[in-house]
């Protein structure tokens, strides 16, 4: 016992050191890779935010959603409409998209929470399927652009250089996305550690006990839905700015399924898991395409299944297990 006490400060500092190194690497990244890869990295960050949202709902709150693509769409369209029709600067649209999705998610959660398991899955699935149709609806066309979608002006970088390093549109947007990602992760982390997180875990694991302890179950469940929708909405808003185009075709049911897959592969109930999952869903299809031109999605499917066999707790879970094996055993 006594010989581990000298390692104790290192052990507590280790996660912080890892975090600072990670942030440093993330900030240096865009200057070492091509603009195209910077664009891809920004997309990964978007997905990561969305997966944190999904994590809060499915992992911590124990509900299920097969329709979170709908909130990506709502966030993206909010940004697109505000930028296109109201000439709002892009950074201002993010909090508004967040607020809209929080409201919509909460309102959807209120009736939906009466359903459990498969039924909730169907309800969310239905939302994802129905939303593109709503976006194409001719009476909303004046706002949504209907089937044509909305083309946005990609924002330019306000600064030419940063500490002597050249900043172009892609790099600027990467840093913007990174900032928003960090903010969202901090919010997520606080939520999970705080009262709300504990309440959600209580509801998930022992719903009856939680209710008898005075936790307002319906309220918290709907709140979980709203918060998770908010995260996904922010991700959607960011992706709209990055891609500079929104259309109903961008938000198919497959997108919702991809989000869920990413969350499970990354690691349910794990914040870093969101990042791993995002990297998976962004890059594995491209890799699969390179392995087999004939049936790339078959390769993707095989990888999904193999990941589930090899890492049932997700990549984050596997890394955690690995870390435990490497770390010296404490008495």
């Amino acid at each position: 016992m006594s010989n581990t006490s000298s390692l104790a400060p290192v052990a507590t500092a280790l996660p912080w050191i890892r975090l600072i190194l990670g942030m440093g690497a993330a900030c240096a990244l865009p200057f070492f890779i091509t603009n195209y890869h910077v664009f891809q990295a920004s997309l990964v960050l978007c997905y990561a935010i969305a997966l944190v949202g999904l994590n809060i709902l499915i992992g911590y709150s124990g509900q299920i959603s097969l329709g979170h693509g709908a909130f990506l769409a709502i966030g993206a369209y909010t940004t697109a409409v505000l930028m296109d029709k109201f000439d709002m600067p892009y950074w201002m649209t993010i909090p508004i998209a967040a607020a809209v999705c929080l409201a919509v998610g909460f309102l959807f959660g209120l009736p939906a929470l009466r359903l459990e398991g498969h039924y909730l899955a169907l309800a969310t699935f239905a939302l994802a399927v129905a939303l593109p149709q709503l976006l194409k609806f001719k009476h909303l066309e004046f706002l949504t652009g209907g089937v044509q979608g909305i083309v946005i002006m990609k924002p330019e970088s306000p600064f030419e250089t940063l500490f002597g390093l050249k900043l172009n549109s892609d790099r600027w947007l990467y840093f913007f996305t990174l900032t928003v990602t960090v903010i969202m992760f901090v919010i997520g982390w606080n939520l999970i550690r705080g009262r709300i997180g504990r309440a959600l875990i209580a509801i998930r694991d022992q719903p009856i006990a939680a209710a008898s302890m005075g936790i307002n179950t319906p309220l918290y469940k709907s709140l979980a839905f709203g918060v998770s929708a908010m995260f996904t909405g922010v991700a959607g808003a960011l992706s709209a700015i990055l891609v500079a185009f929104v259309a109903p075709d961008s938000f198919t049911v497959f997108l919702s399924i991809t989000l869920m897959v990413g969350m499970v592969i990354g690691g349910v109930t794990s914040l870093p898991g969101a990042l791993y999952g995002a990297i998976f869903i962004q890059f594995i299809p491209n890799i699969a395409d390179q392995i087999s031109k004939a049936a790339p999605w078959a390769i993707y499917g095989v990888m999904l299944i193999l990941f589930m066999y090899a890492m049932p707790t997700g990549i984050a879970g596997a890394l955690r297990l690995l870390g435990q094996k490497i770390r010296p055993h404490n008495a």
Binding site: T34, N35, Y36, F39, Q40, L43, V129, P132, Q133, K136, G146, V147, Q148, G149, V151, K154, S239, V243, A244, F245, A247, P248, D249, S250, T252, V253, F254, L255, D289, P296, W297
Partner: protein, 403 residues
Amino acid sequence: MKKRQFALSALCLSLIGFAMPASAQKKYDPGASDTEIKIGQTMPYSGPASAYGTIGKVQAAYFKQLNEQGGVNGRKINFISLDDGYSPPKTVEMVRRLVEQDEVLLMMGTLGTPSNTAIHKYMNAKKVPHMFLATGASKWNDPQHFPWTIGFNPNYHSEGKLYAQNILATKPNAKIAVLFQNDDYGKDYFNGFKEGLGAKAASMIVAQASYEVTDPTIDSQIVTLKGSGADTFFNITTPKFAAQAIRKVDEVGWKPTHYLNQVSASVGSVLKPAGLDKAVGLISMLYVKEGSDVRWENDATMKDFKALLKKHAPEVSPDDGNATYGYAVAQMMVQVLKQAGDNLTRENIMKQAANIKDFQIPMALPGVLASTSPTDFALFQTMQLVKFDGKNWIDYGKPASVK
């Protein structure tokens, strides 16, 4: 001494002078070199529109065979076609990769209206030729604002107008029902159709119904349209739904004058599955040769095409309309490259594309010529209406000029 030095330098200079023009003639932009031309493309090889993937497959086969025969002006074509799953964000990602990482010279035949809309501004900002788009949307013909984009397909809007004008000419008191796919392509056709009917549109169109690509069947829509008592039917559907519609119309005992959009006019991939006997009397528009048409049995380019499929793409049927279409686009592309010669800058490629003078694409119908000018990027100025006789599409009237 001075004289010899002078003569020597004069000799050197003149030698250089002779050498210079030869290297000045070869101009390359990224993606072009002495040995290869890189062409990029995105195609939905997966997802809801994956049936169109045949187009990319046939084009890849065409270029492969062309390379075996020496390529274009001695250069091999490096054709990189990536899957975008018909999702615009994926298209953006893949196109950025092709332009920024693979550094292709130009993009050819990118498919889909939303996919192309997503990259429209980007391609023009980057000044990379965005050529021969596989979509008939009207917005691609805008050389003033988008000088780097040139479409291929005859305009959906104009085609819809053509059918409307035909109805006004042959059946001015017709009661029309319209079925359309609820997206950009469907609405483009419908809008052109309504424009063609002009003031009479509201009175002549007695029923309209839409469907989503995710709908399993369109039976209910056909029942509604029949129930409206219409005697003319404008069918704006993609191949799978066109086949369903043709069959259902027959099943419910409805016998309207049936106009079918060109996108689904393929005998092999639409009419045969639906039932050739049910498709008799269908009116549509053709501009590319049909693989199943007996007229082209001994046609040189059709024979080449069938041999190509047998050798390099045996899973593709020659009767598939997508296959002949892809072949025609590839032929047009090769023509532009030939015209460009050794000046393979992007600017020159666009210049050549804007100056196609009455070119008969071998796979296009005889008489359907491709022409462009710097102010008008629409490739086809005329469209030919056709009627189905149970076996083949027969010319119906004279080629009509469209604007």
